[in-house]
């Protein structure tokens, strides 16, 4: 069965004063119906830009999607007319943003901002919209929804605002939800509740979910497949199990090592990956991770390793591991 969404070799560049930033430089991934995948990587590796590219929300004139295709349910979104794209956004693909504080309009009531999408896509009347908004707020676990729809964002706590964001995203029962770091802003307890909520919703409505995060801890629990991004490229992807237990890229191994583990003795020093992500304006020739990689070989410096299958449905872009050795494996 063809995947719901196929992102093929997307290139999204940004024109800045200091030069062209290659934020997303040839990224491909796919999502099946009802499946949850995770897009993982340090901040600034292009996760969010790739998500925004799907919805064609990249800020014009600075940012442009130069190449690639985004096949969603058999249709290439990049070829769609603006008018059709409007019909797609919110109705069939929606997005949950990271900062509930700034991503909700402070001067409109919460109910109004939820019913907006419904009024446009399902041409409900404002009254019906508000009732549906109340139902959605109930669904996402906000008490006394029928009163709360008339409240303003500043009257909601951080966690509740994020729940409202989720309500906005699921309003028209989209087929695909992109969750861009949905829980980074809230504390751990609320984080768990929100993720559970999102998972139940995706299960209930058989919605596909792209979970974008830099927090590897939650990825294992929620995503079936994991795509690790670094400097605008996918450098490793596979099932969560494979990637967690047999990381085939030094960067993935480094990421996993830096996650503090409960089962380890407390005295062990926290590990971190030295150095800074490369400058995306003039990325180095060869592998982008080379100057931070402890196992780099001459070939890494000159040639950019392509993604190659290293195990069943497990791909990596690293010369060292493609030669069959994984020195970073303990």
């Amino acid at each position: 069965m063809a995947p719901l969404l196929e992102v093929r070799n997307i290139k999204t560049y940004f024109q800045t004063q200091d030069g062209i930033v290659k934020a997303v430089d040839g990224v491909s991934y796919d999502v099946n119906r009802g499946e949850t995948i995770a897009l993982v990587g340090e901040s600034g590796c292009g996760k969010t830009v790739s998500a925004l590219s799907i919805l064609r929300l990249v800020a014009e004139p600075a940012g442009k999607i130069l190449a690639g295709e985004i096949i969603f349910d058999g249709v290439d979104l990049l070829k769609l007319s603006d008018e059709d794209m409007h019909k797609m956004r919110g109705a069939r693909i929606s997005i949950i943003f990271q900062e509930p504080q700034t991503y909700i309009n402070p001067v409109l009531t919460i109910g109004r901002q939820i019913s907006e999408g419904l009024e446009f896509h399902k041409n409900m009347s404002p009254r019906e919209g508000m009732q549906e908004a109340a139902r959605l707020l109930k669904l996402v676990g906000i008490p006394h929804p029928e009163r709360r729809i008339y409240d303003y964002p500043h009257q909601f706590s951080g966690g509740m605002r994020q729940r409202a964001m989720i309500a906005i995203a699921i309003a028209c029962q989209p087929q695909l939800i992109i969750a861009d770091e949905p829980t980074t802003v809230v504390d751990v307890t609320i984080q768990a509740q929100l993720l559970e909520l999102i998972r139940n919703i995706t299960k209930e409505f058989n919605t596909s979910l792209i979970l974008i995060t830099h927090n590897l801890g939650i990825v294992a629990r929620y995503a079936k497949r994991v795509f690790v991004m670094y400097a605008g490229n996918i450098i490793e992807y596979g099932s969560a199990m494979d990637v967690y237990h047999f990381p085939c890229h030094p960067y993935t191994a480094g990421l996993l090592a830096s996650v503090p583990r409960l089962d380890e003795p407390r005295k062990v020093r926290l590990q971190s990956i030295e150095g800074q992500p490369p400058d995306l304006i003039a990325p180095p020739r060869g592998c982008a991770f080379q100057d931070r990689c402890a196992y780099s070989i001459p070939q890494c410096l000159n040639e950019k390793p392509p993604l190659q299958e290293i195990g069943p449905n497990h791909y990596t872009a690293c010369w060292v591991s493609q030669k069959g050795t994984r020195p970073w494996q303990k």
Partner: protein
């Protein structure tokens, strides 16, 4: 909300009282009295006049009488227009000053906001540069200089418009334009800046992610937020227009409150001066109060519980 209004109204009354007090003191400090004329009046005549208008009483007594009068709505009789009460003079002058002020205000918003918005939506386009240039040009030329330049062009050379007077439409055009030029420019600039700022906000991107039409996004999300700063300056701006028009009234010889007020100062017409200041101070304070209340309406975050 009501408690807030009452508190503000009380403050307003106190501010008015203090303003009147300061004016009263300043007024009496200014050299020369109402009765001094080139052809000196006989001392006895001056004495009689002072008695008639209560100027022989000690100053603090006069002030208390005046405040007493104000509370009863009696602003006293003008010295220079000896048969007219100050209230009737104000009522005579008010329509002209208010028309000037309000027309200029409307003109300023009607020109400022669209220009500002257009410039923001089409940033770095010819529209943007034109509007910024227009805004800066008119923001820097003082009203009465602009008035003079217009007069030279339209009255002296082209003879299209009369240079002064009141009543016909032609007589209103130039004064209103001069008065409105500065506020129009300021409105355009602030609208442009705030619209640009709002367009970069994240909630606009959320709105776009819902797929709703760009036009709806503009009205419901962008303008609803970007017009807040415009409204906050609208109140003081209207107050400035109504009270600042006296230079334009002088230039175009329009018998409004402003012109009367300035003549009042030169004629040492104490009751007229006090009446004028009362009108101006009240307008400014009242309009500021209106803006604060309005402000709560448009920006829920500022609701005064």
């Amino acid at each position: 909300m009501l408690r807030f209004i009452i508190r503000r109204v009380l403050w307003l009354l106190l501010v008015l009282f203090v303003v009147l007090l300061i004016t009263f003191v300043l007024m009496h400090l200014v050299p020369g009295g109402p009765w001094d004329r080139e052809k000196a009046l006989a001392p006895k005549v001056i004495e009689a006049l002072n008695k008639r208008y209560g100027l022989d009483l000690p100053l603090w007594r006069q002030f208390i009488n005046y405040i007493g009068g104000v509370l009863h709505g009696d602003l006293g009789i003008s010295y220079s227009y000896s048969d007219r009460t100050v209230v009737s003079l104000l009522v005579h002058g008010l329509p002209k000053t208010l028309t000037l002020g309000v027309l200029a205000f409307v003109f300023a918003q009607a020109i400022g906001i669209p220009f500002g918005v257009a410039a923001a939506l089409k940033q770095n386009s010819p529209v943007d540069y034109a509007s910024v240039l227009f805004a800066t040009l008119f923001a820097s030329i003082p009203g009465f200089v602009l008035g003079i330049l217009l007069m030279i062009i339209f009255s002296v050379t082209l003879h299209w418009l009369p240079t002064s007077g009141w009543g016909s439409v032609q007589q209103v055009l130039m004064p209103v334009f001069c008065l409105a030029a500065l506020p129009a420019a300021q409105t355009a600039r602030i609208t442009r800046a705030s619209t640009l700022d709002v367009m970069r906000q994240d909630y606009v991107r959320t709105a776009r992610s819902k797929g709703i039409l760009e036009s709806t996004i503009r009205v419901r999300h962008i303008f609803r937020n970007s017009l807040i700063p415009v409204i906050t300056i609208a109140g003081p701006m209207l107050a400035d227009l109504v009270t600042g028009s006296f230079i334009i009234e002088n230039l175009f010889a329009i018998p409004g409150v402003g012109r009367m007020f300035v003549q009042g100062i030169f004629a040492r017409d104490y009751t007229l001066i006090m009446g004028g200041i009362l009108f101006y101070a009240f307008t400014i304070a009242f309009l500021n109060l209106v803006v604060d209340i309005l402000y709560g309406a448009i920006d829920p975050r500022i609701r005064y519980e």
